[in-house]
Amino acid sequence: MKNQVITANALIEGDVVYLAPSGQWVRHLSDAQVFTDDAEADAALHVAAARSNEAVGAYLITVTLQDGIPGPTHFREAFRLRGPSNRFHGKQAEHVDLNDV
């Protein structure tokens, strides 16, 4: 069993989004729904991938859980979560409370 989250890129802005328990796409990994059951995660991905008019290229990532808050396990996902390392742009530069997609 692993902890998984569904991620994609928003259709218009192209930025990183995650699927929340509400079924909405949100911009913070900490707000994402964590799937603990592989079959359930796969089924949810199937549904999420069909919503490509909101977010593009949905896929599952494995996450760590600290106090119930998901965090990235792979460096690629850590970069997607933060933004580029050469410029203070992307998520690291954006203040919280971006609207959900």
Partner: protein, 555 residues
């Protein structure tokens, strides 16, 4: 330079309006992503790690000041105030919104620029020697032919859905600055019995399976060029593999069928095609050539330049590294470094682009070039203007004196932006540049090409770097492999892997050990890195890389 005629303008307008409608249909949900993706790729739009990316073609690397100002305007209006110049002489914007891209393309169209075929399985932007039309060592300016190829390949109905992408590079100089041997087709102007023609290379490429291009024709008459190119692409389009994208490029086709069989097929196809090109291409070429007439070079003294060199050591250092001989007396080719130590290779702010446009207009006959080495060139500057130009560049933070040196590093965007990357490239380049600057060894090291790719696709040309660095994902951590002895010139060669890779924290010290080893190994102070490597081979460098590392670890 080539100016768009009424046909070009109408074509671009129509094409942009088609893409605008496609974007609208995507946003409204009428088009799925699967349907839209090939359409956006045809128009240079990628979806990267953090945002969309728009790749704008800079045809054969040539721009005028109005076009450069337009690039700055796009950066300011629709992006984050900068652009990234690439190893394919393009510019990339890293942060556009999908809904803004049609406006960006219309805006580019106002100055005759576009993003058509900067992606997708098409013939891509034709690249050329960045000193074309200016270099002292050139037979002829290759850009009229490059423009002819651009017109022929753009929206060519037969070549819109090929097995894979296709890249053509051209040089008019025997000193190859366009890496022609690492392209699907490389064209080198050559002279035979007083006639100018082309040596045609085919099947070169870097990436997963790097290959040096092979000679398919030693001498192709100029008038045969377009039908011959069409024959090559047409043969490959039919027999190139579509079952496996990693085996689809023409280098694999040439490798599997052999150059002799490919030559036979191409010549047969050429014989069938030749008649269809009733000479209209040569008529077109003549019209294009007239637009590439050299500027009216002025006659003037260069005393001021010599005096400034004597008086100002900073100017002298810059003019030692950043100037190249020009074919016109009293002129120089100026390379403006986009590699300030610690900066992102190839990035220019909108303000810097505007300064460069102003300087080109004022001192450079209104011409700029983008090099595959990710720098900006002012190809025609009279030496008497160089002191003033240098002062203006300094004010814009563009006067770094490091062209061709260790900090003049090619680096792809890597995992800071690119969805395909397996590791970061940019911070490695930044740290190496800062390190050589801190050690003050850059000028002592002399000519040294370091090239970094953040994945196996090799956009950073690592295979042909004197020192090549390839970033990989090894079991979930960034790992960097080193190759040595690559050569990007007319004597092109692929580098040899040194051995196991290094972690993100280890790679910069490893490169430092290589550089220090070279300083100890060279016979004389003017034996360049590449020659020392050829003389002593991999062994001593390998020892410096691995034995010392082990010694440190044992301490």
């Amino acid at each position: 330079m080539y100016d768009y005629n009424a046909f070009d303008r109408a074509f671009l307008k129509e094409r942009n309006s088609q893409f605008r409608a496609q974007v609208a249909r995507r946003i409204s949900g009428e088009l799925t992503e699967d349907e839209f993706k090939p359409l956006r790729l045809m128009n240079g739009v990628y979806l990267q790690l953090h945002a969309y990316m728009l790749r704008v073609a800079i045809p054969y690397g040539t721009l005028n000041s109005a076009q450069m100002r337009k690039l700055a305007e796009l950066a300011t209006r629709w992006d984050k105030g900068y652009g990234h110049f690439t190893t394919r002489q393009n510019i990339q914007y890293n942060w556009p919104k999908l809904s803004d891209i049609p406006d960006m393309l219309d805006s580019l169209g106002e100055v005759g620029l576009h993003a058509i075929q900067t992606s997708g399985n098409t013939i891509r932007n034709v690249t050329a020697d960045h000193f074309a039309g200016a270099a002292a060592d050139e037979l002829a300016d290759p850009r009229p032919v490059a423009e002819l190829i651009r017109q022929w390949s753009t929206d060519h109905p037969e070549f819109q859905f090929m097995p894979r992408k296709f890249k053509i590079a051209i040089t008019g100089s025997p000193n190859d600055r366009a890496v022609t041997r690492a392209h699907d087709i490389g064209l080198r102007m050559v002279e035979r019995d007083g006639e100018t023609g082309f040596e045609v290379l085919v099947g070169g490429g870097l990436g997963r399976t790097p290959m040096i291009g092979k000679v398919i024709e030693e001498f192709l008459p100029r008038a045969d060029l377009l039908p011959y190119l069409e024959a090559i692409v047409s043969v490959w389009n039919q027999i190139g593999r579509r079952d496996n994208k990693y085996k689809a490029r023409i280098k694999i086709t040439v490798h599997e069928h052999g150059i002799d069989e490919i030559r036979r097929l191409v010549r047969a196809r050429f014989a069938a095609l030749r008649g269809e090109f009733s000479g209209i291409d040569q008529q077109l070429l003549a019209e294009i050539e007239a637009q590439f007439a050299p500027p009216a070079f002025r006659q003037a003294g260069t005393d001021g330049y010599e005096a400034a060199r004597k008086a100002d050591p900073l100017f002298r250092s810059w003019s030692d590294t950043n100037l190249t001989p020009h074919r016109a007396e009293g002129y120089a080719i100026v390379s403006v470094s986009l590699k300030k130590h610690g900066a992102t290779p190839g990035d220019a702010s909108a303000a810097q682009m505007r300064v460069l446009a102003d300087l080109a207009e004022r001192y450079g006959h209104d011409e700029l070039r983008i090099s595959h080495e990710q720098n900006v060139i002012l190809p025609h500057v009279h030496k008497s203007d160089l002191p003033a130009l240098f002062a203006a560049l300094r004010e814009a933070d563009l006067a770094t004196a490091n062209i061709g040196l260790a900090s003049d590093i090619i680096a792809c965007p890597g995992m800071d932006y690119c969805a395909l990357a397996t590791a970061r490239s940019i911070p490695i380049a930044q740290q190496i540049a800062q390190r050589v600057d801190a050690l003050k060894i850059e000028h002592d090291l002399g000519a040294l090409k370091i090239k970094i790719s953040g994945c196996i696709n090799a956009c950073g040309h690592h295979h042909v770097g004197h020192i090549g660095i390839l970033g990989l994902d090894r079991a979930g951590v960034e790992n960097y492999q080193i190759t040595l002895g690559g050569d990007h010139t007319e004597t092109a060669a692929l580098g040899t892997r040194t051995g196991p890779g290094f972690s993100y924290d280890e790679i910069v010290p490893a490169i430092e050990r290589l550089m220090l080893a070279y300083l100890g190994l060279r016979l004389t102070d003017d034996e360049p890195f590449a020659e020392t490597y050829r003389r002593v081979g991999l062994g001593p460098f390998k020892a410096a890389l691995y034995e010392e590392a082990q010694a440190y670890a044992a301490e």
